[in-house]
């Protein structure tokens, strides 16, 4: 060895060089091992990835694919049940359902990154223009109907309201229950936020009284109205607060809240929301529940929507509490 047979440690630099030289082959081995393991991991990763892809492609006749559904909070319980039942029959299909609000779903459809938009309000002409400008062609399919329920706390003695009174409540023109009923208490008007199709539908057909002679398109929700992020929160707050009023879809109504009968005008009969009254057309604020796709649906999306419209799918609608198409 070149350093000479000095006592180890007596010449520091020489000693260090000795150590380094002894380590050199070990270092060479270590570097090689690290490179080797990295290469091994890359190969394993590639192989599993390719195997996964191959597995998906060689599916045969079974229906497979993925469907992304975003949109209405009102429709979400229904679409979730449909998705679960569909996936039971076709286990290779993956369906994702989220329900921030119809507005969010329509915006996502216009931006082109979902397959189905579930909406509880019709798409507006301006939104159709924006969609077409983005190369998206909205195709509308009605899948169910909803009788929009108006609920209050069970202790509230009120049992019916006209649409005009509802409009006055939600524009904060009427602020005390004694102006529409018997008890002297302030009204706490709960609403969904602007993401919600229910919010927009209620604004157009109740607050602005579309279709009635008193129609006023300049009316807005009042500044004392509470905007809540989800229908469940509205229903649970109504169940806790004796002064609250809220408008959930019929599927969200529980027996912790009290349904109000709605009169179209003061001279019309008061009708409670239910499957029968919505189908008969006597309930004044029943609205279609819609799916929007980009162009006519094909493939796995068409299969799913066919299931939703089939007698079996429509039976599920009643189970959730909404109104089937027939």
């Amino acid at each position: 060895m070149g350093c000479g047979r000095l006592i180890p440690g007596s010449d520091p630099l020489c000693g260090q060089l000795l150590e380094v030289k002894q380590l050199a082959p070990k270092i060479k081995k270590m570097v090689k091992a690290w490179q080797f393991s990295l290469a091994l991991m890359l190969i394993i990763g590639l192989v599993t990835g390719l195997a996964g892809c191959a597995g998906n492609a060689g599916g045969g006749n079974e229906l497979s694919g993925s469907i992304k559904i975003i949109g209405s909070n009102t429709l979400t319980p229904l679409t979730t049940v449909w998705a679960e039942e569909f996936v039971k029959v076709h286990p290779r299909v993956r369906i994702a359902v989220t329900g921030p609000g119809s507005g969010a779903g329509i915006a996502a459809l216009i931006d082109g990154y979902i397959d189905i938009c579930q909406a509880s309000r019709k798409i507006k002409p301006k939104e159709i223009e924006q969609a077409k400008a983005n190369g998206v062609n909205p195709y509308e399919i009605q899948v169910a109907t909803d009788a929009l329920a108006v609920v209050v706390h069970p202790s509230n003695p009120l049992s019916e309201l006209t649409i005009a009174q509802l409009s006055a409540i939600y524009t904060n023109k009427i602020t005390n229950w004694k102006e529409v009923g018997d008890n002297d208490a302030p009204i706490v008007a709960l609403s969904r936020d602007t993401n919600s199709g229910t919010h927009v539908y209620f604004k157009e057909y109740v607050v602005q009284m579309q279709g009635l002679p008193t129609e006023n398109k300049s009316l807005e929700y009042g500044t004392q109205v509470l905007f809540l992020p989800s229908t469940e929160e509205g229903v649970s707050e109504t169940a806790k607060n004796p002064n609250a009023i809220f408008y959930p879809g019929l599927g969200y109504v529980t027996d912790q809240v009290k349904l109000l009968a709605i009169k179209r005008t003061a001279s019309d009969p008061a009708v409670l929301p239910s499957v029968e009254t919505a189908l008969a057309g006597t309930y004044p604020i029943a609205r279609p529940l819609l799916f929007y796709t980009n162009g006519e649906p094909t493939g796995v999306i068409k299969a799913f929507i066919d299931y939703c419209l089939s007698p079996e799918g429509q039976q599920k609608v009643i189970g959730i509490g909404y109104v089937p198409l027939k």
């Binding site: 000095l6 060089l17 050199a24 270092i27 969010a104 936020d193 500044t223």
Partner: protein, 324 residues
């Protein structure tokens, strides 16, 4: 050094050259390895700056165009927020005042409790108590904000409603209380560190002059640690300003400019969260929401920057004292 007793083997020229080149290549490899690792670490550090600047640029690019539609003073001081009407109006005064009100309530609750807790942990508690209590307080910081919102909704809001005889418990006060629970751990943590960094000489001098423990804490420790405590408060404020999920669920969501904390209100974060799903990319509402985000970002950035500078000053003040 022992000489002469060991026979030196004279190296031949070829082995000497071979060792020299091996030694040089090993040194080069180490240097290369070091340089590449240093480069990689520097890249990661730069990434943080790039992300921050990138977020700012994105917010400005998407949010500033709204000021072409609505002039800035009308945007900042207007009180009508109707983004889906024809024509849409954007005035964010209600949101701004709501954020301020909720933050003030949260800070007013969290600061006395937080500083008191920090003083207890730093000055009075035995080490065993400190070691048990501090992790528990830090656990509070780990509770997800949606769980806090749920607790506020189910437990706190009926309580607030019956206690203050309100129409509804979904108000700024409930949101402020939940936010104070979330900013408390930050305030306690940073304040306690600040109090502990006050040198013992200060306390010893106070005791030598005959001060009691409470007098020492009140007149010596806390004023000495005041920079650190202010930094803690500002960090807590920053947390309260930016919190979204809790205020979305609990603050009520009314569009009026609030006059008292017990009214339902919608802070800026809740306004963005409840509107962004509906906004079509590039549309007016989208730009307005990004502008609100820009204002929030600048507010939180300013608060955090000031807190950082104050903490630096605290460190410099006590870092150089002799005897440390």
């Amino acid at each position: 050094m022992v000489k002469g007793t060991v026979a030196m083997v004279k190296p031949t020229v070829s082995t000497a050259a071979a060792e020299a080149s091996l030694e040089k290549s090993l040194r080069r490899r180490w240097r290369l390895g070091e340089k590449s690792i240093e480069g990689w670490i520097m890249l990661n550090g730069l990434l943080a700056i790039v992300v921050l600047v990138g977020v700012l640029v994105l917010l400005m690019r998407e949010g500033l165009p709204i000021f072409l539609y609505t002039p800035p003073w009308k945007f900042l001081f207007g009180t009508d927020w109707y983004p889906v009407s024809e024509p849409p109006t954007f005035g964010i005064m209600p949101f701004f005042v709501s954020t301020l009100m909720v933050t003030v309530v949260a800070t007013a609750i969290a600061v006395p409790i937080g500083i008191g807790c920090a003083a207890y942990l730093a000055e009075v508690a035995t080490p065993r108590v400190r070691e048990t209590v501090k992790p528990i307080i830090e656990l509070l910081a780990g509770i997800p904000s949606v769980v806090m919102g749920f607790i506020g909704l189910m437990l706190l809001s009926p309580l607030v409603q019956s206690l203050f005889h309100l129409n509804t418990g979904l108000c700024g006060l409930t949101a402020g209380i939940m936010l104070s629970l979330m900013s408390l751990p930050i305030i306690v943590s940073v304040s306690e560190d600040a109090l502990r960094s006050v040198p013992n000489e200060f306390r010893e001098a106070a005791y030598a002059l005959g001060a009691s423990k409470w007098e020492t804490i009140r007149y010596v420790c806390i004023p000495a640690a005041l920079s650190g405590i202010s930094a803690a408060i500002m960090l807590g404020v920053g947390r309260a300003v930016g919190e979204t999920m809790t205020v979305l669920m609990v603050a009520g969501g009314a569009l009026a400019v609030p006059h008292t904390p017990v009214e339902p209100m919608m802070p800026m974060t809740a306004a963005i969260a409840s509107g962004i799903g509906n906004a079509v990319r590039g549309g007016l509402q989208y730009q307005a929401l990004f502008a609100i985000g820009l204002i929030l970002f600048i507010m939180t950035l300013a608060v955090n920057l000031v807190a950082d500078r104050v903490l630096e000053r605290q460190k410099r003040r006590f870092g150089g004292i002799a005897g440390k």
